[in-house]
Amino acid sequence: MRRHGKFPWFAYLVVILGGVAMVMPFLDMVMSSFKGAGEYGVIPYKLLPESFNLDNYREAFSQLELPRLFRNSVIVTVSVTVSVLITSALAGYALAKLRFRGRAVIFRFILATMMLPPFLLLIPTFLIMLNWPLAGGNDFLGRGGDGGLTTSLLALILPFTVSGFGIFLMRQFMISLPDEMLEAAKIDGANQWQIWRLIVLPQTKPVAITLGLITFIGTWNEYIWTLLISSSDPSLQTLPVGIQLLQSFLDPDRTMPIVMAGLVISTLPVLVVFLVFQKYYVRGVVLSGLK
């Protein structure tokens, strides 16, 4: 407690001022989403709207096809999260607990995958999706079709189904599970699949929540790849992309409050999930920082 007693007034001042800077943009977002025509973009600036009317929210629903955007976001996010959890738990177990030739090499390879920045793979991955064999009218060599996989929601899911970081996180966690327990199950006649499914998997719950949350939030907010894929097929838009594109349609002074209403709607689910599980998220960030 001695560390706390020193100069708390100064610490409070810094943290509260910084906290205001952190919260103000979100407050402005919420307040602007209630501003009516003639209230937004007027000098002098006022933070509070004249009334809390819901016109912008109604407008957002009619202009944006929010249900479709929401559905796409949910399908993509849930698929990616479930897939990352399963594949990470499988690979993490092999790397943590099984003895086999090439284990060290594969583990190093997994670490190296985290060093490849996403922007480098953007162009070739797009071209690969476009020329995906036997999809979107392509022949088995990936030629001749119209758009390949880029016309399907799979294009937003497949490139994110496995995460090197996820495998690393799972492996680090599983390595600390006691060997005796796995050995005992083996003696009792369990095969590796049963050991993984019945003994290892139930114990990974805390790290699975951390990884699931990081993946969920990252996928829900993903922007660049979705923008690229949906630029030729708008039916694939997710919430962030759909809301951003609304901007280019109409006069910005009129659309900005509607965009803000859309953003409030799209941010709320992640915010709720984050606040409920924030303990796990925080631990994940710290773990990834102190490896």
Binding site: V15, R101, L120, W193
Partner: protein, 315 residues
């Protein structure tokens, strides 16, 4: 003989080398089955695109028909790296300013905030507060700040109240890059605060107690205890955020649309994106990506080298 321990012992005694080998082989087969989905994925979505990215950087290709792809040698790199062109002189400089600027602001801010939070009650609450931008989509962050930067927005409103004239944060070419840099810093401060507060917690209380006995004030303690012992966490934050800053362009698309005004906020990864998907110049775009990748790889390897050297020092 019925206890598990006893049976493990018996099994070890009875196992001939051949039987043990058989068990290892079975375990190896199981291991590769467990790894199969991940390895398959990395072949298709990592190794293949990576090789493709290298090939593209050395080729001349427009359109989508692989048959028309021609080998171009290092011509793309010649174009991209020529000192008369905009890529080196303007865009790469912007990229470095954006990355350096945001890392400097975020690190300075997060050290200050983390150090102060460590002294307060309700630490969890404060950390979550600073972490909120990390949870929001870049579309929300970019648009809200774009709105606040407008002539009729919050920031100019405050400036006007203080008697300062409105500033065209995003429309004035000399303010645009600093303006987006501040937003990048704002968005990344929360993650840094988390890692730094964890680093602060790891500093033993007794150092501070000893310093206090010797009559050190808070300022002394910060400079001679906190900062040196925080160095590993600080270095990690600095380097990961710098690498992140070098490759991030989503914020710039959202806030300025085209890297404007007149290229003022254009950065390398965004130029690559435009060249590829607006003009279909796969070769030039891939050469740009490769240049940026080499810069990032060099920094990553430097970080690993520093971390390893420190590891040897302490062990």
């Amino acid at each position: 003989m019925t206890t598990a321990v006893g049976r493990v012992g018996d099994d070890r005694l009875a196992a001939s080398p051949a039987r043990r080998l058989g068990r290892l082989q079975r375990e190896g087969r199981a291991a590769y089955l467990f790894l199969a989905p991940a390895l398959l994925f990395f072949c298709v979505f990592l190794i293949l695109p990576f090789v493709f990215a290298i090939v593209l950087a050395f080729s001349d290709w427009g359109g989508f028909d692989l048959g028309t792809l021609k080998w171009a040698g290092t011509a793309n790199f010649g174009d991209v790296l020529s000192f008369d062109g905009t890529f080196v002189k303007l865009i790469l400089v912007n990229t470095l300013l954006f990355a350096f600027g945001s890392v400097f602001l975020a690190t300075f801010g997060s050290v200050l905030v983390a150090y102060c939070i460590d002294r307060l009650a309700f630490q969890g609450f404060w950390r979550v507060l600073y972490f909120l931008p990390v949870v929001a989509t870049v579309v929300a962050i970019g648009n809200v700040w774009k709105m606040m930067y407008q002539p009729a927005g919050l920031i100019n409103g405050v400036l006007n109240k203080l008697g300062v004239n409105s500033i065209g944060f995003l429309s004035d070419a000399s303010y645009a890059l600093p303006s987006v840099t501040v937003v990048q810093a704002w968005a990344s401060i929360g993650g840094a605060v988390l890692i730094l507060t964890a680093g602060l917690k790891a500093i033993p209380e007794m150092y501070y107690e000893a310093a206090e006995v010797d009559g050190a004030n808070s300022w002394h303690m910060f400079w001679s205890i906190t900062l040196p012992l925080l160095r590993p966490a600080l270095l990690f934050v600095l380097i990961t955020q710098f690498i992140g800053g070098l490759q991030s362009f989503a914020l710039i698309i959202v806030m300025t649309g085209d890297g404007g005004p007149v290229n003022a906020t254009n950065v390398a990864a965004f130029e690559m994106y435009q060249r590829a998907f607006k003009y279909g110049a796969w070769g030039t775009a891939s050469a740009m990506a490769m240049v940026l990748f080499v810069i990032i790889l060099a920094i990553t390897l430097l970080q690993l080298w520093v971390a390893r050297r420190r590891g040897e020092e302490t062990s």
